[in-house]
Symmetry: C2
Subunit: 231 residues, 2 copies
DNA sequence: CGGCATCCGTGACGATACTG
DNA sequence: CAGTATCGTCACGGATGCCG
């Protein structure tokens, strides 16, 4: 194996790109930020990636301390990949990329794939300042997110590459978002259509405005749900 | 020409990577954040990039609205490349990448190239909260930066891809950093060695602490210089 | 069936040489 | 100085095969 390709520049950004600059790597991180995933699930939610490239990236990421491979407990024995703390600390990078890319996102093209939880990152920014477990229901599917669980605009975790026990997410809190319904009782449930979700994600439409306009149905008993309905 | 390779995912982060995910692209942005540069200068400060890849990237970036090519005024007629507002809005992305990469930067390897202005991005974060034109003198060379001139931790410029008149940098302020001495009279001049600069960049050592320890010599008459000497 | 490894065609990359 | 041309190599994407 040739000594992996590096920019060989004494610059922190260049070093970061040595680790996460390869094609697909950051998108794999985006998937794993939703929590531990199996190989096949990753392959399904990353349309276009070939099997060998996915396997190769997962190996590289494990060697670089971004991910770990774990065997699931007996019932349903399979391997799952999850982020280490170091890998989860890439959240601000994905947030910055997403914020920059939203301006150019435009309309959905016919060739574009969509997954419900891809809206989690932008919605997390739209919910900045709020706190609570939120479940979001779209036509494309359901996902959940933990608003206020992590320093979205922060610089990243201070500690190095320790493994997060119990789930690849943010230190102490588990994943900041996830596919499917919320694990416990959500503080608020948002039902909305894709266009509204897109507008809110882009910041074109405030979430409170969307609620007021009846484009978002808010259910749930948490303080967050009440505040959204009142505002 | 085949329709450029895209992830074809309706996700803002994936769209961003469609534009800036190719090898070298973000490092070219890092260079251009220092202001307009000529092709040869870019090639010199991006050791390892081949001439055709650099030319190809610059063409792609121009087509995507990240850069513009301009002919310099008569004395010294040459082409320069500069960032548009849209391109300069990638600053938060490079900041996030740099912050993440600093943890793993470690010691300089024998194969690593270094340029003085590569310290500008991390120092800009270390000077967060301060304001002023700062000139930094290292063994590797001299550069300058404008602390407080831009929302470092922000989400990026709101307007789209307009051209920045008079220099590729941040809207209204020109470049946030640049190679060589400051254009005008700097508010503060910092002289320090590479190790100290690295420690301050990484946040291991507060700038005020470094000054107190005599590892940074501060000259200049601006309020920033005085505050640094007093603190 | 999940989790890769192998093979193969195409395009991207990197180094060198060359030209307006 | 500012690239283009050429070429060998490697990475990527798609399909298929293997193995627990």
């Amino acid at each position: 194996m040739p000594p992996r390709r590096s920019y060989d520049q004494y610059c922190s950004a260049a070093r970061a790109l040595d680790s996460v600059g390869d094609r697909w790597t950051l998108l794999i991180v985006r998937e794993l930020l939703a929590g531990p995933r199996r190989y096949t699930d990753l392959h399904a939610d990353l349309p276009g990636v070939s099997t060998d490239v996915l396997a190769s990236r997962l190996r590289d990421m494990e060697r670089d301390g971004l991910t770990t491979r774990r065997r699931l407990p007996p019932p349903g024995a399979a391997h799952v990949y999850e982020l280490t703390a170091r890998g989860a600390a890439l959240l601000p990078v994905l947030q910055a990329l997403g914020a920059w890319g939203e301006e150019a996102l435009g309309e959905r093209r016919p060739t574009d794939a969509v997954r419900a939880h891809w809206f989690a990152l932008p919605l997390l920014r739209a919910l900045d300042g709020e706190t609570g477990l939120v479940e979001v229901r779209l036509d494309e599917g359901v996902f959940h997110l933990r608003a206020g669980a992590s320093p979205v605009h922060g610089v990243g975790s201070a500690d190095g590459g320790g493994l997060v026990q119990g789930g690849g997410g943010f230190p102490g809190d588990g994943p900041v978002y996830g596919d499917g319904p919320a694990d416990g009782e959500p503080d608020a449930v948002l039902s909305l259509d894709t266009d509204t979700c897109t507008a809110v994600s882009r910041g074109d439409l405030a979430l409170t405005e969307a609620v007021r306009a009846g484009r978002v149905v808010v259910t749930g008993d948490g303080p967050l749900a009440k505040r959204l309905r009142e505002a």
